[in-house]
């Protein structure tokens, strides 16, 4: 037995529980979904194989255009908030607020939505956006701008889901970018400011180049998680009104669990599986396994 084989068997007892979890809850479902996408399974749950009928149906589905466009819009704009706003928060709480305790306080406040259970978080949004005069946002817009009450979810469904998801996602970026900024040796900031850099110059020439890897990683990672997540959309708008906030993953859910077209739903989600695999491969290629494990990209000397 050679060395690498030996060390694999030594490590096996340690990784086996997680390996089994991944096998049963990630890998097996993917295989089942793949097989299911070639059946016309409905609420009777019969495996009745129909070839590529579901994929043909997907191309002819008149809703798929709007769902596709919604997904692009949703991922793109939420990503801007997750990465862009997350970066902004990190810079503000780590670079501009020099007092660590104050910075930590603001970071904690931004972490609250992430700590809140999804259903409660969605419920808060529903209350906040309540279409009656007693809705919080309506009250604010009445008082401050004298605007009439309106049904925000009905009128701006995409904006609502982008902001609701962004508020949660930004905190992850914030935490990752903050610690990356903290790991830059102080002397770089000092040299840059002596050499004539303003705050903006320091952000542009020191912070952003040093954070190139975390920024890239977060962008790809968040893209992956956004195209597959739908729980907040389901809870807040449920894809409505009239599919105006329906995204790909939610569409698959709706087809499977609302219309009981399990076969068709599986085919829709197979598209996501393919995209996810492609992104994962890009990520591995771009960062490399070793690079992802060795997180410190800063050469100090």
């Amino acid at each position: 037995m050679n060395n690498s084989k030996k060390s694999f068997f030594v490590a096996l007892p340690f990784i086996a529980p997680f390996l089994l979890l991944i096998l049963f809850f990630y890998f097996v479902p993917v295989v089942l979904t793949f097989i299911m996408s070639f059946t016309d399974m409905d609420f009777s749950l019969r495996w009745n194989f129909v070839g590529i009928d579901n994929y043909v149906k997907l191309f002819r589905d008149q809703n798929i255009g709007i769902v596709f466009m919604n997904t692009i819009k949703y991922v793109f704009f939420t990503l801007i908030i997750n990465v862009g706003f997350g970066f902004l928060l990190a810079v503000i709480t780590t670079y501009f607020i020099k007092n660590e305790n104050k910075g930590l306080l603001f970071k904690t406040i931004w972490m609250f939505p992430r700590m809140t259970p999804a259903v409660i978080y969605a419920l808060l949004w529903l209350w906040f956006l309540d279409p009656t005069e007693s809705g919080m946002l309506n009250m604010l817009s009445n008082k401050l701008f004298n605007l009439p009450s309106q049904n925000w979810i009905l009128n701006h469904p995409m904006t609502v889901i982008v902001i609701a998801n962004g508020m949660i996602g930004a905190s992850l970026g914030m935490v990752v970018f903050s610690s990356a900024i903290k790991s830059i040796p102080k002397t770089y900031f000092q040299v840059a400011s002596v050499d004539g850099a303003s705050d903006w110059g320091i952000i542009r020439y020191v912070i952003i180049p040093f954070l190139k890897w975390p920024l890239m990683f977060m962008t790809i990672w968040q893209t992956l998680s956004l195209i597959t997540s739908y729980e907040y959309i389901l809870l807040i708008t449920d894809g409505g009104p009239l599919n105006r906030s329906e995204v790909w993953s939610l569409y698959s859910y709706h087809k499977a669990f609302k219309n009981y077209e399990f076969g068709y739903g599986a085919a829709i989600s197979m598209v996501l599986v393919i995209i996810a695999v492609i992104i994962a491969i890009i990520m591995l290629k771009l960062f490399g396994y070793d690079a992802m494990m060795n997180k410190n990209k800063i050469k100090k000397e």
């Binding site: 002397t187 000092q190 002596v194 004539g196 020439y205 000397e301």
Partner: protein, 365 residues
């Protein structure tokens, strides 16, 4: 440019990092801030750089108070121990960075970068990245970057500490040469007294945030104002012995448990008169002692160990039960471990310190 520091104080919460510092640096002078870690030397440097704001006092460049002027407008160059070269920029981009921030025409920048790179012997490295060049080269690049914008003041924070000892010695001379050629006012922070003595025109010795003395290397070496400076400057360090000051019949005697030394009049006149029986500390440098066989007015001891240093020998002599004194002897000195010897002091070069306030008793210094 002339730099004056007046009553400068910096606190971090309750900790006083720099306490009422006064320094006056002439145009073109090379000044070291010397002291052990935590003595406030780097804090002082960062206040000169405008990175820390003083709590009290003034920093004056030329005739302008710069307390409220941000770093970027002070026209200074800085170089740190870790060089802080941007790892994502080439050497050329690193050197060009201060000029790029000033929005200078690209052609002029290119010329200036080439010019300074060749004078620092890094012109063949311009397209490489910092992690592809050696420590000494990084050091040179960092200096070139600090000097490319032709600053009025150069600040160096332990710039040699990351280099290996051989390179450090050659860079010492090189930095001194550059400083003299450019005539740029330079403040150099170091904990290494050899660096300070060998490179600088004047040295400010600091301890616990307080300036101990500010003078030329010779002044500090030959006439240390207090025990701290005497202990800190000189390698191998000065020897110290607890003695009692005895005056009788117009004679002055320094008495220790195992020996006593009588001081002639021309020597003791150099020091303050003290009460009979006052406890003092006698300090003497290893090179100001001689090993003899003469018994009169000497210290009796036994050779503990001999360390040959190449050019000369460092003889450790045990006096009394556990006191070790280090003496420099010539290369051909033939003493062996356990030999009984007598130590003759060069009385012109002794130092006396008050045991209580640790100040030198020397008059008129």
């Amino acid at each position: 440019m002339e730099v004056r520091i007046k009553n400068l104080t910096k606190r971090f919460r309750n900790f006083v990092a720099v306490n009422n510092l006064n320094l006056s640096i002439k145009d073109g002078e090379f000044v070291a801030l010397l002291g052990p870690s935590g003595c406030g030397k780097t804090t002082t440097l960062l206040m000169l750089a405008g990175i820390y704001k003083p709590d009290e006092g003034e920093i004056i460049f030329g005739d302008q108070v710069v307390n409220d002027i941000p770093s970027k407008d002070r026209n200074i160059g800085i170089c740190f121990q870790n060089y802080a070269l941007y790892p994502y920029m080439t050497i050329a981009q690193n050197i060009a960075f201060p000029l790029k921030l000033r929005k200078i025409d690209k052609k002029i920048i290119d010329n200036k970068v080439k010019e300074i790179a060749s004078s620092f012997h890094v012109d063949s490295l311009l397209s490489r990245f910092p992690n592809q060049i050696s420590g000494g080269q990084q050091q040179r690049v960092a200096l070139a970057r600090a000097l490319v914008k032709e600053p009025k003041i150069l600040l160096l924070d332990e710039p040699l500490s990351n280099l290996d000892s051989r390179l450090r010695i050659s860079m010492r001379a090189e930095i001194k040469k550059i400083q003299k050629d450019l005539g740029i006012t330079t403040v150099f922070v170091t904990h290494d007294q050899t660096e300070a003595l060998s490179m600088c025109d004047k040295i400010a010795v600091m301890n616990k945030g307080v300036l101990q003395d500010f003078g030329t290397p010779e002044e500090l070496y030959n006439m240390p104002k207090n025990l701290f400076i005497a202990k800190f400057i000189g390698n191998p360090p000065m020897n110290f012995m607890d003695v009692v000051y005895i005056r009788e019949n117009g004679k002055v005697i320094l008495k220790e448990e195992t020996f006593q030394i009588q001081l002639p009049e021309e020597i003791y006149k150099k020091f303050e008169e003290k009460q009979n029986g006052k406890e003092l500390i006698l300090g003497i440098r290893p090179e100001n002692m001689k090993l003899t066989s003469q018994e009169e007015n000497t210290i009796k001891g036994e050779i503990y160990v001999v360390e040959p240093l190449g050019r000369d020998k460092l003889v450790n002599v045990k006096i009394g039960n556990d006191k070790i004194i280090k003496i420099i002897a010539s290369q051909d000195y033939k003493g062996n471990m356990g030999d009984k010897v007598f130590i003759e002091l060069d009385l012109d070069n002794i130092h006396l310190f008050d045991k209580e306030n640790e100040k030198s008793l020397r008059i008129n210094i």
